[in-house]
């Protein structure tokens, strides 16, 4: 019973994070960068917390992929950046080649 409660809590907190990232993107607070990570378009403490949490987890996964495919983390990050920016729906922020934010 306690395990079930913990499992539920974990699942719920996960979806809370997901909602936060999606919301942050939709509200134009967070954008997709060329380096495969998210960045704060308008930073505040809460946004920065989401950004650093998401990026830490993304980097772990990117390192795994680099190891698996026998390439460098830099290559994986630049491909991820490309794909993330392509997948971003219109109206949300993406990073341009000159480093500035642009609403897609």
């Amino acid at each position: 019973m306690r395990w079930l409660a913990m499992f539920l809590a974990a699942t719920l907190s996960l979806s809370a994070w997901a909602l936060d990232l999606q919301q942050a993107k939709q509200q134009g607070l967070v954008g997709e960068q060329l380096n495969g990570l998210v960045g704060a378009v308008q930073g505040n403490a809460q946004v920065n917390a989401i950004v650093s949490d998401i990026n830490r987890k993304r980097l772990d996964s990117y390192r795994d992929i680099a190891r698996k495919t026998g390439t460098s983390l830099a290559v994986v990050q630049s491909r991820a950046g490309q794909l993330n920016i392509e997948r971003t729906p219109a109206g949300q922020f993406v990073q341009r080649a000159d480093g500035r934010w642009q609403r897609k």
Binding site: L21, K57, I65, T69, T71, V75, R79, A80, N84
Partner: protein, 60 residues
């Protein structure tokens, strides 16, 4: 005078001897395979990333 002319002519003719120089390159010839390798790695990385986007939807 005449001798000078002969010497001069000799010199001029000597300057005209055909000379073909064959230079052996000191570096070995290399075939650049980087482009192909890059492409293959990119395809593999992209495939792994697509899987990640599916598995870790809350991160993207």
């Amino acid at each position: 005078m005449k001798r000078t002319a002969v010497v001069l002519a000799g010199l001029l003719l000597a300057a005209c001897t055909p000379r073909v120089e064959v230079v052996v390159p000191d570096k070995p010839i290399t075939v650049n395979l980087n482009v192909k390798v890059d492409h293959e790695i990119r395809v593999r990385v992209d495939r792994e990333l697509e899987k990640l986007f599916e598995q870790e939807q809350e991160l993207f």
